[in-house]
């Protein structure tokens, strides 16, 4: 199999994820974009690992680490989204004014 196909797929997914992060209003949907970008990177790592084929399995090990970090990231991200929702009553990042408590109260 040609090495270019996985790499191109990863580029496409990265671009789509970037669009999701930039264009979405809802914080949870922005997290979906981040997940897409992380997966693009993972795919790159696995493809290069299979191409390079070193004995340390560095690409696949790094992918496993990234999956674990992504799980941690989604846990923290969702905690922040829940906090945002509590403070403002919506998960819309554009409407969020959460700099200080006074400001948030004033905005309401």
């Amino acid at each position: 199999m040609s090495l270019v196909w996985p790499l191109l797929l990863s580029c496409a997914l990265f671009g789509i994820g970037l669009y999701g992060v930039l264009a979405r209003r809802n914080a949870i949907l922005m997290l979906i974009g981040v997940e897409l970008m992380l997966n693009a990177v993972n795919l790159n790592l696995v493809a290069f690992d299979a191409w390079w084929g070193d004995a340390l399995r560095s690409g696949q090990s790094l992918t496993l680490f990234m999956i674990a970090v992504a799980a941690a990231e989604i846990g923290l991200g969702l905690a922040i989204v829940l906090g945002l929702f509590r403070a403002t009553g919506s998960a819309d990042v554009d409407l969020a004014v959460v700099d200080t408590d006074e400001q948030a109260d004033g905005a309401r």
Binding site: I32, N39, L64, A68, A71, L82, R86
Partner: protein, 182 residues
């Protein structure tokens, strides 16, 4: 073009199509579901490249935990999940232009750098749990230990962030948004 390559291209098509829908659908829950399809297609790609262990870990962690957690949060925030609940900002055209530029630039670099390189057909044991386990608990054991600290920090951080302060009253856990109003 071999059978493996053809399957890979089909899975890529599924992944890209569902990823596009995941970032463009107007329904938050549908977006999460399209993400599931993308992640599943990527797991299939891993299988074709020969990374069997990674593929099943991808299904187990990403599909089985991360996206379920996303859905859980969608339901927990009690934000509207009906139609037109997933709007995009007005600068989506700029965002699309930036994304196309980034993806195109990356793709150009990849093609110019690696065109003509070929992946060897998956050999037995390359992506097996045994070889990856040897690598992680041998060479990469220090990053592994640090990663466990990162996970612990994330766990503590998530608990701290979602805890309500000591001034919590006796309100039922569900009435938070109302509480925030007064």
């Amino acid at each position: 073009m071999s059978m493996v390559e053809l399957t890979f291209l089909m899975l890529s098509g599924v992944a890209v199509f569902s990823a596009l829908l995941a970032v463009s659908t107007t329904q938050v829950v549908h977006a999460a579901l399209w993400l599931v399809l993308t992640l599943g297609a990527i797991a299939g790609c891993y299988l074709l490249i020969g990374a069997e262990f990674i593929a099943w870990v991808q299904v187990l962690i990403y599909i089985g935990a991360v996206v379920v957690l996303l859905l859980f949060a969608l339901m927990l925030t009690r934000a509207p999940t009906g139609p037109d609940s997933a709007t995009t900002t007005s600068n989506r055209n700029v965002a699309a232009a930036v994304s196309v530029l980034v993806a195109g630039g990356l793709a150009a670099i990849m093609v110019s750098g690696f065109a003509g390189e070929r992946l060897a057909p998956p050999r037995g044991g390359v992506g097996s749990a045994a070889s990856i386990g040897d690598a992680i608990f041998g060479t990469w054991v220090l990053p592994f230990e640090i990663l466990s600290l990162v996970l612990l920090a994330a766990l503590v951080g998530a608990i701290v962030l979602t805890r309500r302060g000591p001034e919590r009253d006796n309100g039922a856990p569900g009435d938070v948004p109302e509480r925030a109003q007064h």
